[in-house]
Amino acid sequence: MTNLKTISSDQIMDLLRTVMDPEIPVLSVVDMGVIREIEIADTIQVTITPTYSGCPAMNTIESDIKKCLSDNGFENVVIKTVLQPAWTTDWLTENGRAQLKAYGIAPPSGSTSKRALFLEDETVPCPKCNSKNTVLISEFGSTACKAHYKCKECLEPFDYFKCI
C-alpha cells in the first residue's frame, strides 16, 4: 500500500497521464483537461468534468481512473463530477493538440469559447497536408466533440475537434 502522506497531487497527475480517453486513445484525460482537481487527505479525491453533457465516455473514464490508481496501490479513491466551470477546448494542452493532429484529428482552431457562442465560420487546416482549403461536411462527427470535414487538396475526410 502506497503511503498517502508521501504522495503529491502532481505525482497523482503524472499517473493519470496514462489514462486515455476511450474514444480518442492517443489523448490522455489530463491533456484533455477533464481532470480539474486532485485533493489528498484520507482519500484521494479526483474532480473531473464532462466534455459534453451527454458524453458516454464519462463512466469509462471514471472507472479507468480508479483502476489506474488502484494498480499503483491507491484504493481509497473518490471521483467527484462537477459541471462548473463548463469544460472548454481551451483546456486542451499543447501536447494534447499535437497528439490529436498526429492521430489525424484536426485540433480546435484558435481559443476562446466565445467562438462557439457566436458561431463564426472556422478555418480548419487539414491534419494530413495542412492545406486550409477544407470544407465542412457536417457539424456532427463520430463523437459529440467532433465535426466532419473534407480536405479539397488531398481529398482526405477528417474529424475536427470542435472549439467550444
Binding site: 451527454g54 469559447s113 457536417s138 457539424e139 456532427f140 459529440a144
Partner: protein, 252 residues
C-alpha cells in the same frame, strides 16, 4: 425564497423538453436521409439526453432522497410530464423534424442565455454547459431551414407543409404561466416576455429568408407545461419506459 416544490417542477420542465425531444430524435437512428444527418440527429439527441440527465439528477436531489434520477426520468405517467407540446410531435418527414428542431433550438438557445445567470446555482451551471452544445444545434437546424425552404420546389413545399402543421406549437415555449412568472420574479427562471420578443423576431426573419410564408390566423396551443398533452406522448412513453416498467430496478 422560492418553494422547493416550484423549483422541482421548473427543473422538470427543462428536463422533460430535453428528454422527450432527445427520444424523438433517437427514433431517427438508422433511418436518416443520409449517414451524416443520421449521425447529426443522434448526436443532438445525445446532447439533449445528457442535459436532461443533469437536470434529473438535480430534481432527484430536490426530492430529498425519495426518488432517484431514473425514477424521475422514467417512472411518471403522461400527465406528470411537463414538456412542451412541440417536442412530442412525431418525426413525420425530415422537413417536420427540422422545423420542430428549429423552433425548439431558437427558444432553447435564448432560454439558456438567460438561465446562465440564474440565481439557482445548479440551473446556472447546467445552462452554461448546455449553451455551447445548443449553439451548434441551432446552427444545424437553422441551416437546414434555409437550404430546404429556399431549395427545390419539392423541398420548399414540404417545408411549407411542415411549417403549417407545427406553427401552432411554436410559441407555447414563450407563453408564460403562473410558475414561469414566479420563477422569473425570483431570478431563478427566465423572463419569457422579453425572451419571447427575441425568439419570435429571430424565427420570423429566418423563415422569410428561407422564402417560407408565415401561416396566418393561428393560435398558440398550450397545455404541455401543465401535463395536458397531445395523444402522441403516450405512445412515446410506452416505448421509452418499457424496460423500466417490465424489469423494475433493472441495472447494467
Amino acid at each position: 425564497m422560492a418553494a422547493q416544490k416550484d423549483i422541482y417542477t421548473y427543473v422538470l420542465r427543462l428536463a422533460d423538453n430535453c428528454l422527450i425531444l432527445g427520444q424523438r430524435l433517437a427514433e431517427w437512428c438508422g433511418h436518416g436521409p443520409v449517414l451524416e444527418q443520421d449521425i447529426a440527429m443522434t448526436n443532438i439527441s445525445l446532447d439533449l439526453i445528457g442535459q436532461a440527465r443533469n437536470y434529473y439528477q438535480y430534481a432527484a436531489e430536490l426530492t430529498d432522497g425519495k426518488k432517484s434520477e431514473d425514477d424521475v426520468a422514467f417512472l411518471r405517467a403522461d400527465r406528470e410530464y411537463c414538456n412542451l407540446l412541440l417536442v412530442e410531435q412525431p418525426n413525420q418527414d425530415f422537413a417536420h423534424t427540422i422545423v420542430r428542431q428549429y423552433f425548439f433550438d431558437v427558444f432553447h438557445h435564448h432560454l439558456l442565455l438567460e438561465l446562465a445567470s440564474s440565481q439557482d446555482e445548479q440551473i446556472a451551471s447546467i445552462a452554461q454547459k448546455s449553451i455551447k452544445e445548443v449553439s451548434y444545434h441551432k446552427r444545424w437546424s437553422g441551416q437546414w431551414v434555409l437550404r430546404l425552404g429556399d431549395g427545390t420546389e419539392e423541398s420548399h413545399d414540404k417545408m411549407q407543409t411542415a411549417l403549417e402543421h407545427l406553427w401552432s406549437y411554436a410559441f407555447e415555449s414563450i407563453t408564460p404561466d403562473e410558475l414561469d412568472l414566479g420563477m422569473s420574479q425570483n431570478g431563478i427562471g427566465a423572463d419569457l416576455e422579453s425572451l419571447g420578443v427575441k425568439v419570435k423576431k429571430e424565427i420570423t426573419t429566418h423563415l422569410k429568408d428561407a422564402t417560407l410564408t408565415l401561416p396566418e390566423n393561428s393560435w398558440d396551443r398550450t397545455g404541455g407545461k401543465t401535463g395536458i398533452h397531445s395523444e402522441h406522448l403516450g405512445y412515446l412513453l410506452a416505448e421509452m419506459q418499457y424496460l423500466q416498467r417490465a424489469f423494475p430496478g433493472a441495472e447494467w
